[in-house]
Amino acid sequence: MIRLRRGFSSLQAKFLWATVLVVFLLMSAVIVVVDHRLRVGIIEEVERRGEVLSRNLAALSQAPLLLYNFTALEQNVARIAAEHDVRYAIVLDADGRVAAHSGHPERVGTVLDGPVHASAAAAVEPLMQQTVLAETGEAAYDFAVPVLVERRQWGTVRVGLSKRRMEAQILRTRFQLLALTAATLLLGGAAAAVVARRIAGPVRQLAEGATAISRGELMQRIEPSGFDEIGALAVAFNHMAAQLFQQRTELEDANHELRRRFDELEDVKRYTENILASLTTGIVTVDLEGRVVTLNPAAEMLTGFFAGEVVGRYCTELFAPTPTIGEMLMETLADRVPAVGVSLILKRRSGAALPVEVSTVPLKGGEGKDLGVVAVLRDLTLVRELEGRLRRSDRLAALGSLAAGLAHEIKNPLTSVLTFSRHVARRFDDAHFRERFQRVVPRELERINGIIERLLELARPVPAVFTRLRVGPLVDRAVDLFANGIEAQGIVVRREYARDLPPVAADEESLYRAVINVIGNALDAMETGGCLTLRVGWATSAEAFRPGRTLGNHRVAIEVSDTGKGIRAEDAERLFNPFFTTKAQGTGLGLAVTHKIVEDHGGAIDFHSVPGAGSTFRIVLPITPTVATAADDARP
């Protein structure tokens, strides 16, 4: 503060001194110029006055000189000499003798002595000389003008003009100028001091305020000194300080908020990354150009590529071994329509293959902005293993129930046969007995044989080669088998076959038997006057699979609907188990065999039923059964 104060008082002093100096220099210059000009002007004026007077006297004296009218000449010099600063007026004749003298009439007729007089008398043109008057000792101008008539000099007039008045005037002017300078200096200095104080005070305040602000003390306010520039500066300064303070506060708040948001974002990111990293599902994102953006560890595992290698490259390169995925990504990228749950065999970089389910979904940012596409790869290896294991355990369980059912089915006829065989010896003669024997024992044996045959059929391995066959005619052939029963029962058959279905690769005989089983069940379920509906077409599923969308996904469905009594919910579980039947004469092997045939073809069978209203069985068959399925089935 002390330093500042001294600095400003020195500014004040500087301003003061500079102003005084400038004023002094200016006034000096002005004085020099004005004094010079005034002096020159005064001298010029005096000289001109002398010249005019002497010329006037010369003009006045011409006629008297020609006429030698000395009286007139004397009158003329007296008139000129009457001027207050004219010290003498003389007319010389052609010989240089005094013809008229204003001051010394006694000198008339003489030749005046002295260099000034001599040169004046000899002047052939107007001449100005400086002289000192002998009587008073004062400085004077001597003006001599020759009087010429036709180039001949008739005389000379002379006028002596005192310098006293002129010098007094010059002196007075100088004095006035000096006084003016002193006054100007005083006034200028005073004014400069006032102005300097007025400027320096507020400036000092401003500087102090600015220093405080630079230290961060923003709550600085300065009292405005007035409405001048300095006042405006103070107001502006105050405004600036207030603004600075407010902005700093806002900035700190914003910084806090930003840091909080950033932390949040960081958490979210880490969270997401952790999630992504911990996912067993592979996630691959691509940008709008199809370049890979992210690849989570699961995806790295699945594809065999590291994120570092492939990020930024085209997704088609990443999925080069399995181009279908790349195509799916590009298609979704192009038409912004997701593809969900497509099962594929993913070929890894190492050449190994594994089953995956792939979904591609467009990535949308805020406000629906397109960001790219995300591909979700789900590893189905475990699922497939579990499915296989489940199938085997199912089969074991079915074998258990089959054995129980078989034992139960065979035990009853065997018991009858055993009983009859025990009574053969004792009751052989009994005709009635024999007649009963002959009727029952073969029948029972036949029944056992039938069961065995069905079992064999159930256990028969999958035929190795399928033939291409059309499903519609096959169904028609199966219905024809029941033509008599249908007619007898008065059942209406409706057919709804899709056009242009491709042939299906299948074993004709077994598929025929499966269809017969289903239709037979349907007819058995209905009483007189039912309606049997047969549909053959593309398998449309709830998963919104587009027909023809992906190769290998084309499947054909055969549906058989009846209007029978339906299936009870407690029976639905065991419907496909061997030896489960609701019919008095059924062996319970029909649907089991049918189920096995459909599975052998890589297809599926299911049903839905409304008790009392009817049931619908549906057989879905792939057009081309998968190798895996075939291989899978071939293994056990």
Binding site: A63, L66, Y68, F70, T71, D93, G109, V149, R152, W154
Partner: protein
Amino acid sequence: MTVGRGRWRVEGGGSSRSLLLLVALFTLAVLGEAVSAPVVCAQTAARGQPTEPAGTYRRPLGNEPATLDPARIADIYGRTVAQQVFDGLVRFDHTLTIAPGLAEFWRASRDGLTWTFTLRKGVRFHHGRELTADDVVFSLTRILDPRVKSGAADLFASVKGAAEFREGRAKNVTGLVAVDRRTVQIALTEPFVGFVNVLAVGHAKILPRDLVERDADRFGQAPSGTGPFRFERWERGKEIVLVANREYFGGAPQLARIVYRIFPGEPSETMYEEFRRGHLEDTPVPARNYRRIIAEGGHVHVKRPMISVRFYGFNTRVKPLDDRRVRQALNHALDREGLIEDLSFGRFALARGILPPGTLGFNPKLAGYAYDPARARQLLKEAGYPGGQGLPPIEIWANVKNEPVLREHEFVRRALDAVGVRVEFRYLTDWPQYVKKLAGGECPVFLYALFADVPDPDTFLGKLHSQNPQNFFGYSNHTVDQLLTEARREPDAVRRVELYRRAEQLVVDDAPLLPIFHYTYDRLFQPYVKSVEVSGLGDPYIPFRKIWLDRP
């Protein structure tokens, strides 16, 4: 020295020939001719100004000059011609200040009694001989010679020995001495401030002694001077021809020749006609159709007041004019303003007193006599002529008899008749006869005009000095005489004015004359005439040396 004669000269008025001049002037007045003053239509433009004398200037001359001998000339016509042929020792420039002429320098003794003139070197007469101091002495002596009867003789009366010479007691004028070939010394009997002015009058030209002595009369018909123009020939009644003097000391003139065409009797209308036809370079303006002519254009009209006065003089020694009251009555009786309007269409300025405007001592406050017939009758009654009873007819003499003068006289007759004064007009058109009659006091009332050679009051008031030979009025007033004598010697201009004003007032009170007007110079020039400097002394003094004709 004779009182009443002095430094100042009246053109044509210094001798018995004044009346001849009067005739001429009168006619001039009526017809519109006038004297003029400085540089009126001077055009100094150098365009087309010839370097060699070129062109002929034709002037009308109102009458045949009697002679061209400057000492003898008493009329304006001879003066007009002689002024171009001769030079004096000094001359008036166009501002009427004295300037060197043949004398290039002069000095005067302090007492003003001795004047020494130095002649220009190498000035030659037209016949080839060089001018010497002897010619100067001869010429000035000749003016004083009674046989020459020069009108300027009285002006030189103050030269030492003049009286003795005039009276025949001396063969020479002792005051005129040729000191050497180029120096002339003139001694005066009394200090005479401004003696130089006398030497500038028209009479005091320097003549070649040899030619004049051989045959003075013939010289008068075929003069030879030193002037800018040389006399060539003179055909009586027709023309006088001058040609340029290329050796003129002041530089060759611009004109090759001047032809003065003689129109006897001042027929201004004829002159004007000739001027209109382009046969003259200048002309007076005819009184008839004056205004129309002036308005017509095609000429340069030069008009300015002239230092002159025109009046009816009274012989104060004859009855009934010896009675001052009668003279005053006549002054009151005439409506002069009406007369001027009638005569000159207001061109001329009413004269209340004698001194014309432009002369030293002119008094604008002078009352004079107003037109007052009642006062006139009263005065006549006081004089013993109530209603003009007992008053004999008064003779009024004039030297010109033409239509304007007759008209004027008719006007006068009616005016005087109105107060009961009967007048008879007498005409004597022979100028010398007329002047002789005036000098003899035979004319009770006479028409007269005075023109200035020099713009000096003495030119006019001097005529009323009782000793002045041209005092045709018989007027004698001792106080006036004293004032005039004192004034002539007074070197202080202010005091002179005072003296002349007092004298004029006394004269006007005594009414020895009836002033009518001051002339106005009024002349037309062809537009191609350049550098006309009309000096205050009038038409004869125009320096033709400077004039040139701006035409192809």
